[in-house]
């Protein structure tokens, strides 16, 4: 921490400060450089370490309190199993191979749905963002559809596509589509007019305008949208599998079925695995996003690498 010292500023000729009753003397603020200024690299590393420690310590403390609450019987372990019990149960399920089919079933629905929805949302977002007439034609309808709860569409998709995997994949795709469409359209609309004018001056055709201006300028915010959408995709598939899982599998089915049969351990295992899958999926999307947009600033925060 840098020190601040305030001293009355003496007159330039070195005369004594003004006598009592006179206007206050001008103050001089002296600030010594702190560690961040003296050694920026070390300070950044220290900050990053602190962030990592906090990121681990906060959930760890909560988990420890939960464990303690169960062991001290402050809460009922049959309803809120201890983290240790959940971990042991989850590990046993992994070792026995009972968990993988559910994880795999969920991924088989989430990944294709996410890719389809992202692609469609991006293309439509580019078009509606760059072509006012297309925007005028589609935006009101898409806005209206956007607010429809996506899970409410599941029965309709079941009717249209039958009882297989397709309704689940389409549900994820539709959920992702709207997020990416809005994000892309907003990003394209936010591209400064000067960029477009410069491209026009250089004789860029429509394709070159997309290739060199609109796509690079819009991609960074779209990547942020993709991360949001990845979380939503996992969220929606878990709820959907809980409602109607085609083959009685998937993490959503695991959670809701465990709840139905009062198997709280399995339910919590499912919830934790969903959280892990969600984080990994989001991080994968972030990683791919950074590869696709090396020019974009990192949004990890001040300590970000």
């Amino acid at each position: 921490m840098s020190d601040q010292v305030t001293t009355p500023k003496t007159a330039e000729n070195g005369a004594a400060p003004a006598a009592e009753g006179a206007p206050p003397a001008e103050m001089l603020l002296v600030r010594r450089p702190g560690s961040a200024e003296l050694d920026p690299g070390k300070a950044r590393a220290r900050r990053r370490t602190l962030e990592i420690v906090l990121g681990i310590a906060v959930p760890l403390v909560l988990i420890l309190w939960w464990q303690l609450a169960v062991q001290q019987k402050w809460i009922d372990a049959r309803i809120y199993p201890a983290p240790q019990t959940i971990l042991e149960d989850g590990w046993q399920r992994l070792v026995d191979g009972k968990l993988w089919p559910d994880i795999w079933a969920t991924l088989k629905r989430v990944v294709p749905g996410f890719l389809l929805g992202s692609l469609a949302g991006y293309v439509v977002g580019l078009l509606t963002g760059s072509m006012p007439l297309v925007r005028a034609a589609l935006e009101p309808m898409l806005d209206a559809l956007y607010v429809v709860p996506k899970l409410a569409l599941l029965p309709i998709f079941l009717l249209i596509f039958g009882l297989g995997e397709t309704p689940q994949i389409v549900l994820v795709a539709v959920t992702v589509f709207f997020l990416i469409w809005i994000q892309t359209m907003a990003a394209v609309l936010a591209v400064p007019e000067g960029y477009r004018e410069a491209a026009t001056v250089f004789g860029a055709n429509r394709w070159q305008m997309y290739r060199h201006i609109l796509i690079p300028a819009s991609l960074p915010p779209v990547v942020v949208g993709l991360r949001l959408a990845s979380g939503m995709a996992v969220l929606v598939i878990v709820a959907s599998e809980g409602l109607a899982s085609p083959n009685n599998d998937g993490l959503g089915y695991l959670i809701f079925n465990a709840k139905n049969i009062f198997d709280n351990r399995a339910m919590y295992v499912g919830i934790i695995v969903v959280a892990i899958v969600g984080v990994l999926f989001s991080e994968l999307v972030r990683y791919i996003g950074r590869l696709l947009t090396p020019w974009a600033p990192d949004r990890r925060g001040p300590g970000g690498a």
Partner: protein
């Protein structure tokens, strides 16, 4: 200062770890194991009007007449103080809730000094609240969740039944058939089967009975859990080969070429009803008995026979349930029955264990069923 803060954080972590280290108790120690609450029933007195208010639970005859008392009996025995009781049900408009909802509307519970608060909640959520004592009673069935809760030591019990289907009702398993194929020729091995509820429901018991007559076991069938309308549509559009159809959905398949009824709920054997939790099983048994008495009185007064033969009553029932007269009139009256047959929970558990939703061994009936409330209400010793 920063160093002091970090030290503080480390102290919290250390304190937690130390506390954990000093309390090396297995988290499973809370599980008390299935235990049965002692039946501390008050002395049973013969109740006027209820001379035929009891049948032997081991009488499994499909033609057994359900227990009945005279209308307006058993007479009310108001509790000393007005008592609120919270009951939940998965739906509030189903016909089988008629006795409960009409009883509330007609003041039968108020006569017992009971204030019944009825809430809608999925039974899979409500069973946890029942086990924790946050609700008093749950209108459901001895399903897998209830069995597992009992296995984990929670005191939840099935305390009275609800109904069995009228012989004319065709609620149950329906299947698609090829031209010229009869119901007896239907082979359900490997079939896709749609139902509103999955393997965790008591409905698996009657389904298994039907499957066994058609060359299949529960494990041979691919179950699809869909909503009520989805079940009918899946059967109609070929998404499944068989389905469990509820009232009055089966009416749209009756006499329709290509569909046959294979069987439904066992005659004379209720498979659902009221579950009590620790509040009524342990703390306030007299409240549980008063609740049973009011419900039984409502059945005897309004639902003793073919209650839908009276159009005015059907209209009143539809209003109370928030249902439609045409829906109620489309299907036969339910055979209301507050008693619980011997062995129903054994058969249900067999299905749950086969379906891998409950682990063996099965619980004995006394861990899941308590007939003392309705016995006491009608003045029978229960023996």
């Amino acid at each position: 200062m920063a160093r002091r803060r970090r030290a503080g954080m480390a102290s919290v972590l250390l304190a937690c770890t130390a506390l954990l280290a000093t309390s090396c108790v297995s988290s499973d120690d809370n599980a008390e194991g299935a235990k049965s609450a002692p039946s501390q029933t008050t002395p049973v007195q013969a109740v006027a009007g209820c001379e035929k208010g009891w049948t032997d639970p081991s009488d499994l005859s499909p033609t057994r007449a359900p227990a009945r008392c005279a209308p307006n009996t058993p007479a009310a025995k108001p509790l000393a103080a007005k008592t609120k009781i919270v009951v939940t049900a998965g739906t509030l408009s189903a016909e089988y809730l008629g006795p409960l909802r009409l009883g509330i509307a007609k003041g039968e519970f108020a006569k017992e000094n009971l204030d019944v608060e009825l809430k809608q909640m999925p039974s899979t959520d409500a069973i946890t609240l029942l086990a924790k004592g946050e609700i008093d009673a749950l209108y459901s069935a001895p399903e897998a969740g209830m069995v597992n809760a009992a296995k984990q030591g929670f005191n939840v019990k099935w305390v009275f039944g609800n109904y069995s289907s009228d012989p004319k009702s065709k609620t149950g398993v329906w299947a698609k058939v090829k031209e010229g194929q009869t119901a007896e020729q239907v082979d359900l091995k490997g079939a896709r089967f749609a139902s509103l509820v999955g393997k965790t429901s008591i409905i698996m018991y009657p389904i298994e009975r039907v499957l066994s007559k058609h060359n299949a076991k529960v494990t041979d069938v691919d179950f699809k859990q869909l909503d009520a309308q989805g079940v009918a549509q899946a059967l109609e559009n070929g998404g499944v080969e068989a389905a469990w159809l509820l009232d009055p959905v089966w009416k749209q398949f009756e006499n329709k070429p290509g569909y046959v009824f294979l069987g439904g709920q066992p005659a004379g054997e209720p498979i659902g009803g009221m579950l009590y939790g620790p509040n009524l099983l342990e703390k306030n048994r007299e409240v549980g008995t008063a609740f049973a008495r009011a419900l039984i009185r409502t059945v005897n007064t309004y639902f003793a026979g073919d209650y839908k033969a009276d159009p005015a009553f059907t209209q009143e029932l539809a209003t109370v349930l928030g249902s439609k007269v045409e829906l109620l009139s489309a299907v036969p009256s339910l055979v209301t029955d507050w008693e619980i047959r011997t062995g129903t929970t054994d058969k249900a558990q067999k299905m749950f264990i086969e379906g891998k939703v409950v682990e063996a061994p099965a619980l004995t009936e006394d861990k899941l069923v308590d007939r003392s409330f309705y016995s006491e209400a009608v003045g029978h010793t229960g023996k």
